[in-house]
Each structure stands twice: as C-alpha cells, then as structure tokens.
C-alpha cells in the first residue's frame, strides 16, 4: 500500500495564482484532512471530510476550498494565492468504526508551497 500520497512535493506560486494540491489514499479510509504547518506553530486544520460528498471547515479555512467526490481523493484548492499561504501542507486520513473508534491519522509527506 502507498498510504497517503501528496503531489506536488514543492511548488512556487506568484501572488494571485491558483493551484490544486492533490491528495489520494489507498487505505479506504473514510476521514480525510488537510493541515498546514508553519514554523513554531504546529499543525492547523484547514478542512476535513468524513466521507465522499461531505466536507467541513477546520480552524483556518479562509482562502481554501476542498471537494471529496471519491473516497480516495481529497484535493485542496487555492484560488488567489497570498504570501500568508506560504507553508507546508499535509494531507492525512483515518477510519472510524461503528462503535465510535477513530484510528490514528496517517499522514502524507507534505507539499512545500511558497507564494511570492
């Protein structure tokens, strides 16, 4: 199994450009997440999804959009890139059971984005 795969690994954007960060998982996990990691700030949740067709905002959703048309894929869209969005972005997934158990998160290796 590949686990959680993120592409691209690195990207440089100009202010105002748009791009989509791709995330796919092959573990049939129902939950997926996008986090951003800024130096000295830990990880902040941007958006999450509890299943195909369902998404919800996390702590820092402004400037981002997501969609979840399939169980496997959870792309993150930046419409008008701003310098404040320079960060490392991590996608993660987990599964839940009917008894309420949530598995630990499985993370991808990250996308390093610079907006200049």
């Amino acid at each position: 199994n590949a686990g959680v795969t993120q592409t691209p690994k690195f990207r440089i954007l100009k202010i105002g450009q748009s791009m989509t960060l791709q995330c796919t998982q092959d573990m049939n996990h129902n939950y997926m997440y996008w986090y951003r990691q800024d130096p000295g700030m830990g990880l902040k949740l941007i958006y999450y999804s509890v299943g195909a067709g369902i998404t919800d905002k996390g702590e820092v959703p402004n400037g981002y959009n997501v969609s979840r048309s399939t169980t496997e894929d959870f792309p993150l869209r930046l419409e008008l890139a701003a310098p404040s969005q320079t960060s490392v972005y991590f996608c993660a997934s987990s599964y839940t059971r009917e008894d309420g158990y949530n598995s630990p998160l499985h993370f991808g290796n990250g996308t390093r984005l610079t907006v200049t």
């Binding site: 959680v4 939950y31 986090y35 000295g40 700030m41 830990g42 990880l43 902040k44 949740l45 999450y48 509890v50 996390g58 991590f90 993660a92 987990s94 839940t96 309420g100 949530n102 630990p104 998160l105 993370f107 991808g108 290796n109 990250g110």
Partner: protein, 114 residues
Amino acid sequence: AQSVTQLDSQVPVFEEAPVELRCNYSSSVSVYLFWYVQYPNQGLQLLLKYLSGSTLVKSINGFEAEFNKSQTSFHLRKPSVHISDTAEYFCAVTRMDSSYKLIFGSGTRLLVRP
C-alpha cells in the same frame, strides 16, 4: 475549546542521556492524548496514545508518556536516546466525542548529539 502547550521549542541532549519533552493541555471535557513524531521531510507518524486505562503508555522504540489528569500533562520520556531519535515531536489532544479533530501543540525539536 482544547489547547496544547509545548513549552520547549528545542531540546538538545547527548546520546544515551535521558530526555523529557513536556506537554500540557487544557480542556473542559474528557480528551484523548497523542504524541506524533516527524522525521525530516516526512509526514507525522503516531508514536503513542492515551485513550483510557493505564495512565502510562509505551511505544515500541523505548518512549513512554504518562497521563496526569490533575496536572493536565502528558510528558514524553525516554531513559536513553539515540542519534536516530532526532526529530520533531508533537503532542496532540482531541475530544472524546469528536476524536477525529486533533489539536496539535507547536512541537519540540529533539536534537541528539554524539
């Protein structure tokens, strides 16, 4: 709301010395607690977790953490560190009733020197 505080941004230590990475949390409801480790240029990996039961939890590579409810702490310890333990360590908390939403601390970089 929940929050996590990791007071030490960096902890330098010599190889084979003991180490403690501190984590304190605040929450008005019951929580689950986690330690994740991040090696350079990689995503985070679960190191250990406290869900219920024994307050002392251990990982397969010699780390342990103790849940202390009265002090709202979940400090991570290892009696003897290796060079390969050099990484960033994140403490995280989640509410028991929405345990898929993790709140992370700011991280502690463990730097093990020979």
